[in-house]
């Protein structure tokens, strides 16, 4: 166990006016045009968001083993895909929908039809928010989100997701989010938490990930293990302009003690995440030095 500073929160860039303008433009313009405008901003991000650029460059160079030039072009493509994913989020706020194909759908169908709650573990890869529109969940999905997100983005999320039975639960210093999540699970609902970001608790598990040890949070796995409910990982990966594929995996673990079970679950999740990054290397959106 060790402490780790939260280095990057994943907050949406831009001012409230820009967000509102983006939603308005998404209502009237086709995605292809929006992507084109977005692509013109990428060189500025590459130059002025140097830390983000370097961290993704290191990811391609060291974790994916690509050469310097290939890594540079991979970073450019990664930023392009990330920009497209952000546009897609705002397009969802504007009422547009995407074609999704769910792999291992029987897993989520079984969990959603059961009386028991469960934990859904998301990641900062692909476009997890699309999952909120895709499951037509009869159970309420309680999604733990960074409290520092822009107010207008949060309001758009709340409005858009409320119709899809998704509730936003901001992380709070007074721990009230834990009461909300534990109570939701007790009521047979779903708790959705990121498994690749350490926030709200400094406790983590250090695991081999893509060849080198990295820290993963205990939180989502401790919640499932303590409450005795199943956990699944969810990866929503972009495969075309209006097309996503959702990958679902059961997070299983052996072990005797609670800490062994939590570590086993985190290890299972890290394995699934690694497999996903081998399939979709350009959709890694942790813009900080994940491996320290």
């Amino acid at each position: 166990m060790e402490e780790k500073e939260v280095k990057w929160q994943g907050k949406t860039d831009g001012t409230p006016f820009m967000h509102r303008a983006l939603i308005a433009l998404c209502r009237v313009l086709p995605l292809e045009i929006m992507y084109f405008f977005m692509a013109t901003a990428i060189p500025f991000y590459l130059v002025f968001n140097h830390k983000g650029y370097i961290s993704i460059y290191h990811y391609f160079r060291r974790r994916m083993g690509r050469g310097p030039l290939w890594s540079f072009f991979s970073v450019c493509y990664n930023h392009l895909v990330f920009g497209a994913v952000v546009i897609d989020k705002f397009a969802c706020f504007a009422g547009k929908r995407f074609k999704t194909r769910i792999m291992n759908k029987e897993l989520i169908d079984k969990l959603l039809s059961s009386d028991k709650g469960f934990v859904m573990v998301g990641s900062h890869v692909g476009n997890g928010e699309i999952a909120g529109f895709s499951f037509n969940s009869p159970k309420r999905i309680n999604s733990l989100v960074f409290a520092g997100e822009a107010a207008d983005v949060m309001a758009s999320r709340r409005d858009t997701f409320a119709a899809h039975n998704v509730r936003m639960v901001p992380v709070s210093e007074d721990m009230s989010h834990m009461f909300t999540l534990s109570s939701a699970i007790r009521d047979g609902e779903v708790a959705c938490i990121y498994g690749d970001r350490i926030f709200s608790s400094t406790r983590n598990v250090r695991l081999p990930f893509m060849g080198v040890d990295a820290d993963f949070p205990q939180g989502p796995f401790a919640l499932a293990a303590s409450m005795g409910v199943p956990a699944i990982s969810v990866f929503v990966m972009k495969e075309g302009i209006r097309k996503y594929r959702i990958w679902l995996y059961e997070i299983s673990s052996g072990g005797e003690s609670r800490s062994e079970i939590v570590e086993g679950m985190a290890s299972c999740y890290a394995g699934d995440l690694e497999g996903m990054m081998r399939k979709y290397p350009s959709q890694w959106f942790n813009f900080y030095e994940f491996w320290g």
Binding site: M175, H177, M178, F179, S182, T202, R203, A222, S226
Partner: protein, 86 residues
């Protein structure tokens, strides 16, 4: 009440695995969360929620009430005394 407070302190130490502490080290009024007290975090909060449920039959549903209950051992013990079903 003193007996309940000591029992609660021992349970907190056990469930949170605070191996360096004894019940005597935990002050009745010290805040459980934050830097000035025991410095517990969200995973500890979850353990305390489950402790209240399993050992005292108290299901904490309301987030705003819950955070008030976990202010200190004193407040927790007082709440347990009034609301326990076990």
């Amino acid at each position: 009440m003193e007996e309940l407070k000591n029992e609660l302190k021992q349970k907190i130490i056990n469930v949170l695995n605070l191996v360096d502490l004894t019940p005597g080290d935990v002050e009745d009024d010290a805040p459980l969360f934050g830097d000035n007290g025991l410095g517990l975090d969200s995973i500890d909060a979850l353990e305390l929620i489950l402790l209240m449920e399993k050992d005292y039959g108290i299901k904490l549903k309301d987030a705003s009430a819950g955070k008030a209950i976990f202010q200190s051992v004193n407040v927790m013990a007082d709440y347990i005394e009034k609301n326990r079903t076990r």
